[in-house]
């Protein structure tokens, strides 16, 4: 029951995403009366749920890396702060981005919990906020030019054109809804994934739903509810505010938006690109509002830029800057209240130590150890405090300090036969990997890296390959396996372990 209460903020966030972002997918089609609202809402709901459950894992993982929220109370407040920001900004008439609100709220949790924000993930996310609208605008221009050429070549009758556009809007809307579900479910439920309380569920016909997928299904249903109950009004008004769109332009905008969201969410596409040695886009939850606005502005610029209402554009950009800041502040204040007034734990207690073994490990990682001796032996309860001590005592840069902090995290791991039998299943791990785990039965470790180093020494199946685009796919799989194993063998369950 308490779990459902904590999840309610995620469902609230899902509802607000459905109410707002569904308008990005079908708003122009419904606004231009090409598709009826009920048709749009039904298709959108079905495909959002499908996208959430089938393809939601990719983008959700990045949020887990940004800030591994390790307590239900913390996840509740992060989602609540994001949802509150979105609702407040919507009431003020400012267009909002769910992913920005969520990222802001996670950083708020990081500040509150004294956890270092993973700079690599944050940089990746912020860079996509810039790339996403630009890419979407570029796609929109490309699709528009191509579609115009096609129309000129095929010369369809006005009515055939209308019929094809209508069906294309429905098909692309369905694709957009799938992509929205796959990409943005990470925003709605991503923060709950590390603390997912649901066991795996076996369904008929050999289907199975993992704990995360059950969360995504719930989130998808919340989004669908938002679509049905509140998106009608937003759908009716979207599209015409920034630049007047024709149905054909609306189609191009939705297609560009959907392709961009898909590119940033599809694990299969990433795998396909990497397997042929091509660079892949990071799997990050991007803002569907940004994608739509990028596409609309792209088309506006293609038409000479005269029809664009720049005032509206400035307001939107201002909203993009303020959303994460407001969400961050709200989350921080909310977490403070939740922890100190309602006595709800919002994070797990952590410990960090710079033991001689940790210093040796840091040395093996190729990082300079000069100055570490001065902070040796100290015990720290937050990443911030250790980071501060390192900054004062050593010449390590921020990235290097981040790695030292991760190596210094203390967490008890127990190689317990019962847990191995329950969680280390052949479907998830290679036989060689399982054999290596079983050879360590009865042992205990203070740091995650100690367990992993031990496993690496037993079999190459646990060793990460040298970093290169070609090896990224294998390494990603291996990292996932290492994370799963650590969750399974952790003495005190809950939260996501830190893996160096």
């Amino acid at each position: 029951m308490l779990v459902l209460f904590f999840l309610s903020s995620g469902l609230f966030l899902g509802w607000s995403l459905g109410a707002n972002d569904a308008a990005n997918v079908f708003g122009t089609a419904v606004g231009s009366r090409m598709v009826r609202f009920t048709t749009a809402a039904l298709i959108c709901s079905v495909f959002v749920v499908l996208g959430s459950v089938v393809g939601g894992a990719g983008a959700a993982g990045t949020l887990g890396q940004l800030g591994a929220i390790d307590a239900m109370g913390g996840a509740f407040m992060v989602a609540f702060a994001a949802a509150l920001t979105i609702t407040a900004m919507t009431k003020l008439g400012l267009p909002v981005s769910t992913s920005q609100a969520v990222v802001g709220a996670i950083i708020g949790w990081n500040f509150f919990s004294g956890v270092l924000t993973d700079t690599a993930s944050l940089t990746m996310i912020v860079v996509t906020w810039v790339i996403c609208p630009i890419l979407s605008g570029a796609f929109a221009v490309l699709f528009y030019v191509l579609s115009r050429r096609l129309v000129r070549r095929l010369r369809p009758h006005l009515l055939w054109d209308d019929m094809v556009t209508r069906w294309a809007l429905i098909a692309v809307g369905a694709f957009g809804s799938y992509s929205l579900g796959a990409n943005n479910i990470g925003n709605v439920m991503g923060v709950f994934v590390p603390v997912a309380p649901f066991p795996g569920l076996d369904l008929p016909f050999g289907l199975a739903l993992s704990g995360a997928q059950q969360l995504f299904l719930l989130g998808g249903l919340a989004i669908a509810l938002g679509v049905f109950t509140y998106s009608r009004h937003v759908m009716g008004t979207v599209g015409g505010n920034l630049f007047k769109l024709t149905p054909q332009m609306a189609l191009v905008v939705v297609l560009a938006h959907s392709v961009v969201l898909f590119l940033f969410a599809s694990q299969r596409l990433e795998h396909a690109l990497l397997s042929v040695g091509l660079p892949a886009l990071p799997l990050v939850p991007v803002s569907s509002s940004q994608a739509v606005i990028g596409a609309v502005v792209g088309l506006g610029l293609l038409k000479g830029g005269h029809g664009i209402r720049y005032r509206v554009l400035v307001d939107i950009a201002a909203g993009w800057v303020t959303t994460p800041i407001i969400a961050c502040l709200l989350a921080f204040v909310g977490l403070f209240v939740l922890q100190n007034v309602f006595a709800v734990p919002v994070n797990r207690p952590h410990a960090y130590e710079l033991s001689p073994q940790v210093i040796e490990r840091v040395d093996r990682l190729g990082l300079p150890v000069a100055g570490l001796e001065t902070v040796k032996g100290g015990h720290y309860t937050t990443q911030f405090s250790l980071n501060r001590a390192l900054r004062d005592a050593t010449g390590l840069d921020a990235k290097q300090r981040e790695r030292v902090v991760r190596a210094a995290e203390v967490d008890r791991y127990l190689v317990d036969p019962a847990r191995i039998a329950q969680d280390v299943k052949p479907g998830w791990f290679e036989p060689e990997q399982i054999a290596a785990i079983k050879s360590l039965v009865g042992r205990e470790y203070r740091h995650s890296w100690q367990l992993l180093e031990e496993l690496e020494s037993r079999t190459p199946a646990w060793r990460l390959l040298p970093e290169s685009p070609r090896n990224r796919l294998d390494n990603d799989r291996l990292k996932k396996q290492r994370r799963l194993l650590l969750i399974a063998l952790r003495a005190e369950p809950g939260g996501a372990p830190t893996v160096e």
Binding site: S32, R33, M34, R152, R155, P156, H157, L158, L159, W160, D162, M163, W167, T246, P247, K303
Partner: protein, 215 residues
């Protein structure tokens, strides 16, 4: 569902084509009707009048049906207003053609001698204007980028019709015929030329609608 939509769209495309065929046919019937009246072939004239009457009814019926379908199924929401306006003004050309031939039938104006060729040419120019307008309208539905190729012909024939009408009126009023007869004939010159004016009105709308569709 998609098959039903496909059939409905195809039926509507056929109806629009038939409507434009009817307008084009009415223009030809008008030209023939004027030529028959001028040549004194009254039987033929009456046959053509009956044919244009049928065409006018058919055009009305098709137009109403197309309009109903467009509204009922919310088709072409962006261009619906334009298309409805276009169909109505195009229908006005047929109405005007029938109305003018009807006046010839009822009022039987006595033409002045030596001007038969002028009357025939005026009727032919009005028909050419309407034909060019039909081509432009058809292009609007099928290939909006070529509408202008036809529009300039509409404007050319309309101007030519005005010039011919003016010349004919001057010739009529230069004769010693009674003023009442001359005034009566001027009234007919104006009505024949009105076909070109109605076509020009359609062309003006088309020019704007085409910009909207191709921008």
């Amino acid at each position: 569902m998609p098959i039903l939509l496909f059939k409905r769209t195809r039926a509507l495309v056929v109806q629009i084509d038939e409507f434009l065929d009817t307008v084009g046919q009415a223009a030809l019937l008008f030209e023939r009707g004027v030529a028959d009246y001028v040549a004194g072939r009254h039987d033929h004239f009456e046959t053509h009048y009956r044919a244009i009457d049928d065409a006018e009814h058919r055009a009305d019926e098709l137009r109403r049906n197309i309009e109903k379908q467009l509204y009922r199924h919310s088709l072409i929401p962006e261009a619906r207003g334009d298309v409805l306006g276009l169909l109505e003004t195009t229908d006005d050309v047929v109405n005007q053609a029938k109305h003018t031939l009807g006046m010839f039938l009822v009022e039987r104006p006595e033409l002045l001698p030596g001007m038969n060729d002028d009357w025939t040419a005026l009727g032919a120019t009005a028909a050419r204007t309407a034909e060019a307008m039909v081509l432009a309208t058809r292009a609007f539905f099928r290939d909006p980028y070529t509408v202008n190729d036809h529009l300039h012909k509409v404007y050319f024939y309309e101007k030519e019709g005005d010039r011919q009408a003016m010349a004919l009126k001057r010739r009529i009023f230069d004769t010693d015929a009674e003023l009442a007869r001359k005034t009566h004939l001027r009234y007919f010159v104006l009505n024949v030329d009105r076909i070109s004016d109605a076509s020009e009105e359609v062309a003006d709308r088309l020019a704007i609608y085409t910009i909207k569709r191709t921008v």
